[in-house]
Symmetry: C2
Subunit: 253 residues, 2 copies
Amino acid sequence: MTPRRDPRPAAERGHSGGGARHGGAPGGTLTGSIEDYLKAIYALEELTDLPATTSDIAERLDIAPPSVSGMLRRLATRKLIRHERYRGVSLTPAGRKAALKTLRRHRVIEAYLASVLGFSWDTVHAEAERLEHAASDELIDRMAAALGDPATDPHGAPIPTRDGTLVIVPTQLLAEQAVGTSARVASVGDEDGELLRYVGSLAIRPGAVVKVVSRAPFDGPLTLEVSGSGAKAGRTHVVGSTVARAVKVDKPR
Amino acid sequence: MTPRRDPRPAAERGHSGGGARHGGAPGGTLTGSIEDYLKAIYALEELTDLPATTSDIAERLDIAPPSVSGMLRRLATRKLIRHERYRGVSLTPAGRKAALKTLRRHRVIEAYLASVLGFSWDTVHAEAERLEHAASDELIDRMAAALGDPATDPHGAPIPTRDGTLVIVPTQLLAEQAVGTSARVASVGDEDGELLRYVGSLAIRPGAVVKVVSRAPFDGPLTLEVSGSGAKAGRTHVVGSTVARAVKVDKPR
DNA sequence: CATCGTAATTAGGTGAACCTAACTTTTGCA
DNA sequence: TGCAAAAGTTAGGTTCACCTAATTACGATG
């Protein structure tokens, strides 16, 4: 029960304000905040294949644009992003690596919570969002190992490997499937819990096979028919055009 | 994949600096920092049955005394402690409740990491120290349930229940046992990983029965003999006077 | 090609949680 | 009982990550 901490000259302890207070940060020296920015920039780059813009990042993180500008300067100083003033930002290799590491943390945690601890897929995101900044590499690896190193999280999103590789299986938006064809749902957006509860109730989840019955123009809603033999099989439902990504199938497996 | 966050008038978002940025804090509205202070104050009160002093808190948290003074003022404002200037601090019922909640988080996490994910008892403390501020009540309860609501953590410390009750089994320091008597180890301090590896290697852990062979005066080291039938049984070892708490036994169970 | 709207930045500010240096209160001891 | 050492507090400063208001750059359009 003896505390007896190290008697460093006190000038060398927590010293710098706010952020990560305890020395034992999980990954490198990145604060949760920085990890969130990198994740957002990564996601935006993925989405558009173009440099992420200040206002997109701001909207995504629910932060005012000037705050983003300031943080981008810091990230550029740390060599995590390239930033051309008034243009946009893109991740450096170091930044991408950090982003993928955080993404791995997030998705491993989601998978573990859902598989082992019985969390529903609409609640894992919020929980993972906080835990991903506190969990050590060791913990993440043990959770992943306990699941047999899963390839995807509960929403179907691929989990980057320990060495930072992300296997991207090409998918299309369900809305991009030809009307009348069947497709196997690959993934569903993970952030909107309400949406997840809704599509879950329709049995639209990764692995489900659905047929696109009709599609309204201009990104309008889709009408889907759930295939297979479940209780919900054969029912048709109307959903938004961006709910899920999918791969075409010939025979419903 | 549509982010589309709430378009509040922007004056109502993260607004206040540093601390907990996203609204979804796990417990109440307490930051990790505040929880750490309350835990420390609780531990010091337990230890001495007297109000905790500024410098004790400072030493325990490895923070300069003036920083503690400042934080104590904030904690008093929030009605979590009572603070008499130049005297000391004691927890209010609200503060004690918050401290016990954090203690529960910490110990449930330790127990889970050790039992389910195979962490060694000398590494769980550091991991729990970070996770306890990020885990939701839901997660803690599910982890506890997965273990059948354990009564103690891997170091033998009691785990407060969901409703904030802490069952205290009276124990004495091993050093306080009469020489020649046997005692069952109840708990070992959880913070010092190196110490834990050492006493672990001697098979001194909760449940182990040891005999106090001799004791040097003035809180000097103890000589112990490990009872039972393990590989280490019968060996004698010399350890510090504060390594473990124990209860006397007549027949080694 | 001037202008106007939007996006991005700079300027200046806040609160949290830390720090050191200087000062005050308490306490232990001659 | 008096006074010095120890403990605690105040004063003033830093960094971080946010904010609003004001300004500047860009790019589309008449």
